[in-house]
């Protein structure tokens, strides 16, 4: 675990943020199942500790890039749930005026350069943002979130090489949930995943992605390192995708067992891990945590109501925003 002291308030804040992501995603799943949401969504359930631990260690003006499984990253970086829901429903009030949808939430106000539906598609953007920060001397760092599936994309290694050559303040965070869509990582990534970074001189380490304290602690260190101008780093957060590849991926036995899922859910749930820590250290009691859950649930309900009631964009907006 961490060698960084995590104060009680911080842990409770991270707990609340993880609960928010969990309940948000459960609500998304519900909307999809009831055919109230267009398209698909890729749920972050089970991986909440990574986004929360990472973003909690960032400044509000630091940048992130996100992925198709990006709701958690956006929320952890400070996105408002009502505008998130509105975007997922394709409404004008959404973060992208309904033009982006689930896989493309972007928000300059929270440093979110955008979720990306091309696997590894944001590796260049993240590294470019770090390039700007270095040139402009604004002290910002950039976190590039990607799944282990992106390890199959060459552009990751191209930009990592340049980030190392030019000492850019970027942290590559590989969320290893073990499944490239429906294929196990062992069938997709040869050799040592943590051996890739050092080949470029990029320090690399792994962290228990189910323990928000551990993620926060390592991320604080990596963010400080980047801010000091010591260049990029690579962090593999080991985690598990509790749900399917997307909301429609219901029957999963052909690529992983129910028992495997059950084991992760019962033993490695990041919210349970945090709950146990909070209770065992007497940081808060069960009633206080229940209250947080209830408060977040009420916020989610309100946000969904807002988004459901919000109008769709007028069709005359379809050609707006193609060019700046």
């Amino acid at each position: 675990m961490s060698d960084v002291a995590i104060d009680n308030k911080l842990l409770l804040r991270m707990y609340r943020r993880m609960v928010m992501i969990r309940l948000f995603e459960e609500q998304v799943n519900d909307l999809y199942t009831r055919a109230l949401m267009p398209g698909l969504a890729h749920l972050y359930i089970g991986e909440e500790a990574i986004a929360v631990g990472v973003c909690e260690a960032l400044r509000s003006d630091d940048y992130i890039t996100s992925t198709h499984r990006g709701h958690g990253h956006c929320l952890a970086k400070g996105a408002a749930i009502d505008r998130m829901f509105a975007e997922l429903l394709g409404k004008e009030a959404g973060y992208c005026k309904g033009k982006g949808g689930s896989m493309h939430i972007a928000d300059p106000d929270t440093g979110n350069l955008g979720a990306n539906a091309i696997v590894a598609g944001s590796a260049g953007i993240a590294t470019g943002a770090a390039f700007s920060s270095k040139r402009l001397g604004n002290g910002r760092v950039t976190v590039c979130f990607f799944g282990e599936g992106a390890l199959g994309q060459g552009v990751v290694y191209e930009v990592m090489n340049m980030a190392a050559l030019w000492k850019l303040p970027v942290i590559y965070i590989c969320e290893n949930n073990m499944y490239n869509e429906y294929t196990h990582v062992s069938e997709a990534a040869a050799g040592d995943i943590l051996g890739r970074g050092p080949a470029f001189g990029v320090p690399s380490e792994s962290v228990d992605g189910q323990d928000v304290r551990a993620v926060y602690a390592v991320m604080q260190r990596l963010a400080e390192r980047a801010r000091r101008g010591e260049g990029p780093s690579f962090l593999m957060a080991n985690t598990y995708r509790f749900m399917g590849h997307h909301v429609g991926d219901i029957s999963r036995e052909y690529y992983r067992s129910k028992q495997e899922e059950q084991t992760w859910k019962s033993e490695r749930d990041p919210i349970k891990v945090a709950t146990e820590a909070i209770l065992s250290q007497n940081i808060a009691d069960r009633a206080a945590l229940d209250l947080i859950q209830a408060e977040v649930k009420a916020e989610i309900d309100k946000a969904v109501q807002f988004a459901m009631a919000a109008p769709y964009p007028n069709v005359d907006k379809v050609e707006q925003d193609v060019y700046a």
């Binding site: 973060y95 972007a106 350069l113 598609g121 260049g124 470019g128 040139r135 930009v159 700046a324």
Partner: protein, 332 residues
């Protein structure tokens, strides 16, 4: 342009490009160049010679041979306060960078509901007859024209190159700027001071009455040469250069078509599903009842560009083939 005060010299197209870059880099510290061998080597075509001496390696930055990676870095830098000019040595390498341009740069403004902008220029080359064979000779600009969110600029003279490149650098969108490898040594008058040419304004390179030749980039000089040959046959050809393929100055093209009633479109890209097809369709949709003949399209032959000189030369329109096509269209 006014005759007083502004010094106008003869510059090559390559020198005009370099001057535009130097002036913009002096004007705006956010502008920087990145690409393969752009610094001390001044690119493989020696177009950027001297810039690294003035601006240093922080602003004229040699990259590894990682086109997708450094183009992606350009996209991100262009979103976060810098104004990158990314150098892709050969336009044939478009395949390596297409995700960065078509899925990232082109879409971020729209996908974000207009909140993020990507201010970047991608300079690259087109043009055959350099004996460089199939992977270093293509004119693939139609690929980028196909994608909403991108702008495509195709200068044909040193004057246009300088003015258009400065506009491209100041634009808040991703702009692909095409330079014809064979025209780097082409000379023409270029004012010494700051001027810009807006994107989306065509230029009538030669006025005429009997036929319009719409030509782009490398084909503008070919069209002008053909117009001279046509003069000897008593045919007065108008040569119109769209200068930017997107945004496209449809009005100037249509007006010329209506005036002359005969149109040839010449572009060095592949004809099939290409720029000539688009422009010909646009002309026919808008000027059909003013036309005396079907719009004629001339582009690169639909073959990989061959190495052998006589074979390669046969693949692209020339002054004489354009002249012959124009005469046929005029019934001569």
């Amino acid at each position: 342009m006014p005759e007083t005060a502004v010094a106008v010299r003869e510059l090559t197209l390559g020198e005009a490009v370099r001057e535009a870059l130097a002036e913009e880099m002096r004007r705006d510290p956010r502008v920087f160049i990145m690409g393969e061998d752009v610094a001390e080597a001044g690119t493989a075509f020696k177009v950027l010679g001297g810039l690294v001496q003035e601006f240093g390696t922080e602003r004229v930055l040699d990259t590894p041979i990682s086109e997708a990676g450094f183009t992606g870095i350009g996209v991100g830098a262009g979103m976060t306060g810098m104004r990158p000019v990314v150098d892709i040595m050969f336009g044939d390498f478009a395949g390596l960078i297409m995700d960065q341009m078509a899925n990232q740069a082109a879409k971020i403004h729209y996908m974000s509901g207009g909140k993020w902008k990507c201010s970047m220029v991608l300079r690259t080359t087109l043009g055959a007859t350099r004996r460089s064979a199939a992977q270093h000779s293509q004119s693939l600009h139609a690929w980028f024209c196909h994608i909403p969110g991108l702008k495509v600029v195709m200068p044909s003279t040193p004057y246009d190159a300088k003015g258009l490149l400065k506009s491209a650098i100041r634009d808040d969108n991703p702009v692909i700027f095409y330079e014809d490898k064979m025209m780097y040594k082409l000379k023409g008058p270029v004012p010494q001071d700051d001027y810009t040419i807006p994107l989306g304004v065509a230029d009538v390179k030669r006025a005429g009455d009997d036929i319009t030749i719409i030509a782009t980039s490398s084909m503008v000089q070919v069209a002008l040469g053909a117009a001279k040959l046509l003069e000897e046959h008593g045919v007065s050809a108008e040569v119109v250069d769209p200068r930017t393929l997107w945004p496209l100055d449809e009005k100037t093209l249509i007006d010329s078509a209506r005036k002359t009633s005969r149109v040839i479109v010449v572009d060095e890209g592949y004809g099939r599903y290409g720029v000539t097809a688009e422009l010909a369709a646009m002309i026919q949709e808008n000027a059909f009842f003013d036309l005396e003949a079907p719009v004629k399209r001339m582009g690169a032959m639909h073959v990989p560009i061959p190495f052998s000189p006589p074979l390669e030369d046969a693949t692209v329109p020339t002054e004489s083939t354009v002249c012959a096509a124009a005469l046929a269209l005029c019934g001569k």
